[in-house]
């Protein structure tokens, strides 16, 4: 492998010649500890901390106070310019420790935060690494610290609910007893609200909507105050908090976040939240407000908390939420074709769309002539189905709206689960075709069983998709006889892959840790499987947030669009490459060599091309994108 000699530099830094994954982790921890101790000695946490505490404490006070804080915070930020990242991390963790401790008194709060301060050193990412000489964007320097702790926030809550692991994540309303007077409620890092133009609450991520009537009215007052001046409020920054507003006719959406995500990302999330509401009620809900401006919408959304909270949860783990593309379950070409063929057979007869899905990934989908399905609709539809437990119990027939297809009207969805993960959605415009759809499903099921599609799906779930360790050596030099099947080289390449690790240290070749490839024509993306060192769900979430930021900066209306970006910070080297055909997002070891990283990206693109008929759904459907 040509890159071995080059990557040996990172190897020596890692101090880990072993290929064993556990050792790699330990060595990484060791580095982090070292870096963290550097951090500790280079900052004075107590002073900065106190300033930040005020911001957190009074986050939801009167507007005037917000403005005061804005000034205070700006002042303090200016003073400690260099330490910004560190401060953020301390503060975020402070928030976390409080939300875990829930309802502890003021004294306790400060003591626990001091304790966190000290112990945090073990976990903290260093704000600077010896190698962080690369480009650091406007948020680059502060990106590391806060993200970790933000991860803690969500995961901590999940643990509070007695479940661990993101896949066992508990859906539904969390902390329903909170309201805007609760300390814990105020400390939440990311709030989402829906309210009506008359100020009536519709949805809140945390707390009981009815108890938040006053808070809702305040949000409404801010929005209408600005609107009365002939303007529109998009974003308010108050210290670490961003308040993002989105007005959709009579429905207002607000996100209050201290996660440092870009405005465009948060706005996109509000758009999806609105879309999810449309999935449930259609846009004709606006008519209710025309008839009665004070219309109370909460009862119409009864029982849908799980749908919204699962969507909000997916903002931090599902790249489809910001890429506006869908992903396919990796499958042998023949398998996917078999699935596509039977769906195609049924699609003609009154079925508008047929989707065969495994979790949030598409196995195959077809549409009736000239009907096309937007990736966001796929996301919202699959989120709706997966978060509604009743679909798993028995076959169902339910009205559903695809906002990008037709936001005004209901379609009817026949939903059937073949197994725990795999389900079929048949969409039709006809409200009385249940038995027809049921018959279609029975035919589809028979074919899927006969052609082993369902068992292949289960195997793919176990095997996963693209593993960076399997990134082929220079594609040009590869013997033509080697098939490019995803599954096949796996066992064969396993041992060389491991050997490569020995030289590289961690991750894939040349310090490659992870990548996402988005095909622009197909509106699909493929994401490599996570592997060391991006193992934990909070590391994964942090990486997705970094990609999200990268995506936003590449698509920035003001300064963009850009073609390439190379960004190095204390956590990663991030490389983004946008062409007419694809977008590639890749994360490398922070010590990775730039020239090698670019070379590796080329190899990734070749690799994706080689296996595209296994990872993408190609031309199987008469879509007119």
């Amino acid at each position: 492998m040509p890159s071995d000699s080059n990557s040996s530099s990172s190897d020596s830094d890692d101090g880990n010649p072993n290929s064993n994954a556990g050792n790699i982790d330990q060595s990484l921890d060791a580095i982090e500890n070292q870096l963290a101790s550097i951090t500790m000695s280079s900052r004075s946490p107590t002073t900065t901390f106190d300033e930040e505490e005020e911001v957190v404490e009074e986050e939801e006070e009167e507007e005037e106070q917000l403005l005061d804080q804005l000034r205070i915070t700006n002042g303090s930020l200016n003073e400690k310019l260099g330490a910004e990242g560190v401060v953020d991390s301390v503060d975020d963790d402070y928030v976390e420790s409080i939300s875990k401790a829930e309802s502890s008194g003021v004294i306790k709060e400060s003591s626990s935060s001091v304790w966190r301060n000290a112990s945090e050193a073990d976990e903290a990412e260093a704000p600077l690494t010896p190698s962080s000489s690369g480009y650091a964007g406007e948020r680059g320097s502060s990106s590391g610290g806060d993200e970790i702790n933000d991860d803690d926030d969500e995961i901590g809550e999940v643990e509070n609910d007695g479940v661990s692991g993101s896949h066992e994540w508990v859906s539904g309303k969390r902390h329903p007893n909170e309201d805007d007077a609760s300390v814990s409620w105020r400390k939440r890092k990311k709030h989402f609200f829906m309210l009506s133009h008359s100020g009536k609450p519709i949805y809140s991520r945390y707390g009981d909507e009815h108890k938040l009537a006053g808070f809702s009215a305040t949000l409404q007052a801010i929005i209408s105050f600005v609107e009365n001046g002939g303007d529109r409020v998009k974003l308010v920054r108050a210290g670490k908090h961003q308040v993002v507003f989105l007005v959709k006719g009579p429905i207002y959406l607000v996100c209050i976040s201290c996660t440092e995500e870009p405005y465009e990302s948060l706005k996109g999330q509000l758009e999806l939240l609105y879309g999810q509401m449309i999935v449930i009620l259609t846009k004709s809900i606006n008519r209710c407000f025309e008839k009665n401006p004070k219309f109370d919408m909460t009862s119409l959304l009864g029982g849908t908390d799980a749908v919204f909270s699962s969507l909000i949860h997916s903002f931090s783990w599902n790249p489809a939420t910001f890429l506006h593309a869908y992903s396919c379950l990796p499958l042998a070409h023949a398998t996917r074709q078999a699935a596509g063929a039977i769906l195609q057979d049924t699609a003609g007869s009154g079925i508008l769309f047929a989707l065969l899905m495994c979790k949030h990934k598409v196995i195959s989908l077809v549409g009736a002539q000239k009907a096309s399905l937007h990736p966001d609709d796929i996301l919202l539809l699959s989120n709706f189905v997966m978060s509604s437990e009743s679909f798993r119990t028995s076959e169902s027939f339910s009205p559903i709206c695809l906002p990008r297809y037709n936001a005004m009207a209901f379609l009817y969805a026949y939903v059937h689960y073949f197994d725990v993960d795999t389900y079929l959605i048949l969409l039709t415009t006809s409200s009385d075709s249940f038995y027809h759809l049921k018959d279609s499903r029975i035919r589809i099921e028979a074919v899927l069983l006969k052609s082993n599609v369902l068992s292949e799906v289960q195997r793919s779930l176990v095997d996963g998709g693209m593993h960076i360790q399997d990134l082929p050596v220079d594609p040009a030099s590869r013997p033509a006889t080697v098939s490019s099947h995803l599954g096949q080289p796996r066992p064969a390449a396993d041992s060389p892959g491991r050997n490569r690790d020995t030289f590289v240290g961690i991750g894939g070749p040349d310090g490659l840790w992870h990548f996402i490839y988005r095909s622009i024509y197909l509106d699909q993306y493929v994401s490599s499987e996570f592997s060391s060192p991006i193992n934990s769900s909070r590391q994964q979430k942090r990486l997705y947030r970094a990609y999200q930021r990268l995506y936003a900066s590449m698509h920035d209306q003001g300064s963009g669009p850009h073609k390439t970006q190379f960004r190095r910070d204390e956590n990663y080297v991030l490389l983004c490459w946008v062409t007419q055909d694809f977008e590639l997002y890749a994360a490398f070891d922070p010590l990775a060599d730039k020239a090698l990283a670019i070379k590796t990206c080329n190899r990734v693109c070749h690799w994706v091309k080689d296996v595209e008929n296994e990872i993408f759904l190609l031309g199987a459907s008469p879509f007119s994108w």
Partner: protein
């Protein structure tokens, strides 16, 4: 699941008439097929009743029904007739109320469920009875079911209120508990007995 295999062979031609497998539901004198719809406020336990009847299960975690779920169960009566129930378990949420006709249209049986601990759900049940009287099939068999009978210490709707309302409206009344399985099979057996039989030729 359920009855998936048995449906397509029969009556593929008479299938176009909406959510009804065929007209009226009766096939022959010994084997009846009936469309049954469950209606009632959200959270009264419609899905629990169905799952207890069809699968013998009870899941205390509440799973909100979306749209309507479709399940089948066949029971044998003492006179050696079998009745296959094709059950539409509808969502109780307000947003689905306007879509209820989709599910109850052509139903031979309507089971209106309320929660004996919730007077609101009893009021909602009365709403559904009126709606069915107005828009349902004229010869529909209606049952009024007070569910959660195991929670008698929290009871807020008396048995007599249920009986009185059912009698006034020509309904069959029963109190059930999906949790303890109390009266669940009796409910469906009793419905089966009341079904109009096709006249023997």
């Amino acid at each position: 699941m359920g009855c998936s295999a048995s449906v397509p062979e029969k009556n593929t031609t008479g299938r176009l008439g909406g959510l009804n497998p065929d007209n009226g539901g009766a096939n022959d004198t010994k084997n009846l097929r009936v469309k049954l719809v469950l209606l009632g406020d959200s959270g009264v336990g419609k899905s629990c009743i169905v799952l207890r009847f069809v699968r013998g299960q009870f899941d205390p975690t509440s799973k909100v029904t979306v749209g309507a779920s479709f399940l089948c169960q066949t029971i044998a009566l003492q006179d050696s007739t079998t009745v296959k129930f094709e059950i539409w378990d509808t969502a109780g949420q307000e947003r689905y109320a306007a879509l209820a006709p989709l599910y109850y249209r052509g139903a031979a049986v309507a089971v209106v469920v309320y929660d004996i601990t919730s007077p609101e759900s009893f009021a909602k049940a009365q709403y559904w009875v009126k709606e069915l009287q107005k828009h349902g099939s004229p010869d529909i068999v209606m049952a009024l079911v007070g569910n959660k009978a195991d929670l008698h210490e929290k009871r807020e709707v008396s048995v007599q209120d249920g009986i009185d309302y059912a009698e006034k409206n020509g309904m069959f009344f029963i109190e059930t508990s999906a949790k303890t399985a109390d009266n669940i099979n009796q409910l469906f057996e009793e419905i089966a007995k009341r079904l109009p039989r096709p006249s023997t030729s």
